[in-house]
């Protein structure tokens, strides 16, 4: 379970995440939505221990994100990932896998299976510098699941993918859910979020606007319509406050 309690983060005195509380049950697929600059990426970075919150607590299965034991069970894919251009896809994936205790001695064959799953097995021995954006996105996804994590955090996992690629990654997310993994991801593609998420959280200017069931939130409308309405209402109420 992922428990976020009253976390806050400021940069240069400006609050980016403001008193955010959220609970994501284990095994659920959770979509974290918000307009640009809302604090989604900062939140995910706090969840995976890249950034320390100024206040509040984060617990993943009872452990804090910076604990090594917690990170053994976590996979993370950053937005628009960069890689080491002078390594091949297989070399990079093996490098990532060997940083975990449980996948340190994984045979090369198993890394090959992961690359097959994300659809870049044929390019495994090519330099990453030759990869397209979509291939890099798939490699980013592969390194996020290389340690068979219990919790997977994905920042814009469908960005840059063609419709076939998006379908394949969505199918992998569904498979992860079927295997009992928790998937927490940011996305601007609301149709995809509506399709695969059980629950969503909507954040605006660092504050949580909604957290809960997708269908309940949509209430007969599309997620996009309801999202735009919700953010619009938030903007209006903050203008009234001013």
């Amino acid at each position: 379970m992922i428990e976020i309690r009253n976390i806050r983060k400021s940069y240069g005195g400006y609050p980016v995440v403001d008193d955010l509380s959220l609970t994501v049950k284990s095994g659920h697929v959770f979509g974290f939505l918000g307009p640009n600059g809302a604090g989604k990426t900062t939140t995910i970075k706090m969840l995976v221990g890249l950034v320390r919150a100024d206040g509040g607590t984060i617990k993943i299965d009872g452990r804090e994100p910076h604990e090594q034991a917690c990170r053994e069970q976590v996979g993370f894919m950053p937005e628009d990932p960069y890689f080491y251009d002078r390594l091949t896809g297989m070399e990079f994936l093996m490098f990532c896998g060997q940083l975990f205790k449980k996948s340190y001695r994984k045979p090369e064959r198993e890394y090959g299976e992961i690359l097959k799953l994300v659809g870049i097995h044929d390019a495994r021995d090519q330099m990453i510098a030759t990869y397209s954006k979509g291939m890099k996105q798939r490699l980013g996804f592969a390194q996020a699941i290389v340690n068979d994590p219990a919790h997977v955090f994905l920042d814009e996992p469908l960005d840059g993918l063609d419709p076939i690629g998006r379908r394949e990654i969505k199918d992998i997310i569904k498979k992860l859910h079927a295997d009992g993994k928790t998937v927490f991801f940011n996305s601007h593609v609301l149709a995809d979020v509506e399709e695969i998420c059980h629950e969503i959280g909507i954040i605006h200017k660092g504050r949580l606007v909604y957290a809960g069931d997708v269908k309940q939130f949509c209430n007969g409308r599309t997620l996009e319509e309801k999202f735009v309405m919700a953010i619009g209402q938030e903007r209006n109420s903050s203008m009234l406050t001013l």
Binding site: K45, R52, E72, F76, D80, Y82, F95, L99
Partner: protein, 253 residues
């Protein structure tokens, strides 16, 4: 410990595949071979010229390669966010810094060995036999390289690649000029003297690793001197890498 090895292996692999590095190395090897010609026009002082220019050339190219590779060691990873992929895994800042240091040092050591093999071959070809004294100079150069990598690694944790390179070059220059600096300020007032002494004790004295003049003039280099220089480099590097780990650990990525 295993993470240090994994990161070192990855850093080594990525470094030795850099094409710009290959270009610099080829140029360095050609330069060392060119000393054969320079020696032949030296009116009977072939070996002295070859050793003098050969050792200086190896040092110069070694430092150029070190600056080129080390200045972007951490900062480029922060800029390109490749560090997100590593530090979100069960890897500590200490393991990352040490792994990067060991991997880069191994790559530069390999390059230095390649240059040394050609240099020693040239010396042997010109009748100098096996040049053990030059080997001592090369070992000390490796110690200095290790220390210099640690210096630039520290800069790389908070400066851009260009700035880290510039700071590194500045420290390299000052580190080789400390004795001259102290002599210069000796009679120029207490304040300047104090400031110079502070710089003297903070900046590593890189002249400790420079025995090229001794070697060129066929004077012996003691094992004790090499050992002390190695200890000096190791202790300084440990402090610098600790500071680098501390700076990186405090960073919000």
């Amino acid at each position: 410990m295993k993470n240090i090895f994994v990161i070192a292996k990855n850093t080594f692999r990525a470094a030795i595949r850099d094409r710009i590095l290959h270009g610099i190395l080829v140029f360095a090897l050609l330069f060392i071979l060119f000393t054969i010609f320079l020696g032949s026009i030296s009116l009977g002082e072939d070996l002295m010229v070859i050793r003098s220019i050969g050792l200086a050339g190896m040092y110069l190219f070694g430092m150029i390669i070190t600056i080129f590779l080390a200045s972007s060691l951490i900062s480029l990873e922060i800029e390109r966010r490749t560090l997100y992929l590593i530090l979100s895994k069960p890897v500590s800042a200490t393991e990352l810094i040490l792994g990067k240091f060991v991997g880069l040092f191994a790559a530069i050591a390999l390059i230095t060995i390649c240059m040394s093999a050609v240099y020693l071959g040239v010396v042997w070809y010109k009748g100098g036999g096996f040049d053990a004294a030059s080997l001592a100079s090369i070992v000390l150069q490796l110690f200095e390289t290790g220390l210099f990598i640690a210096i630039i690694t520290l800069f790389s944790t908070f400066a851009t690649p260009f700035a880290a390179a510039m700071y590194g070059i500045l420290v390299l220059y000052i580190g080789h000029s400390l004795s001259i600096l102290l002599q210069y300020v000796q009679y120029r007032g207490a304040a300047l003297n104090t400031a110079a002494h502070i710089v003297y004790y903070i900046v590593p004295n890189l002249e400790k690793f420079n025995v090229r003049n001794i070697v060129v003039h066929d004077m012996p280099v003691s094992v004790g001197m090499i050992a002390l220089a190695g200890l000096y480099a190791a202790l300084y590097a440990i402090v610098l890498l600790y500071l680098a780990k501390h700076v990186l650990g405090k960073k919000d990525l």
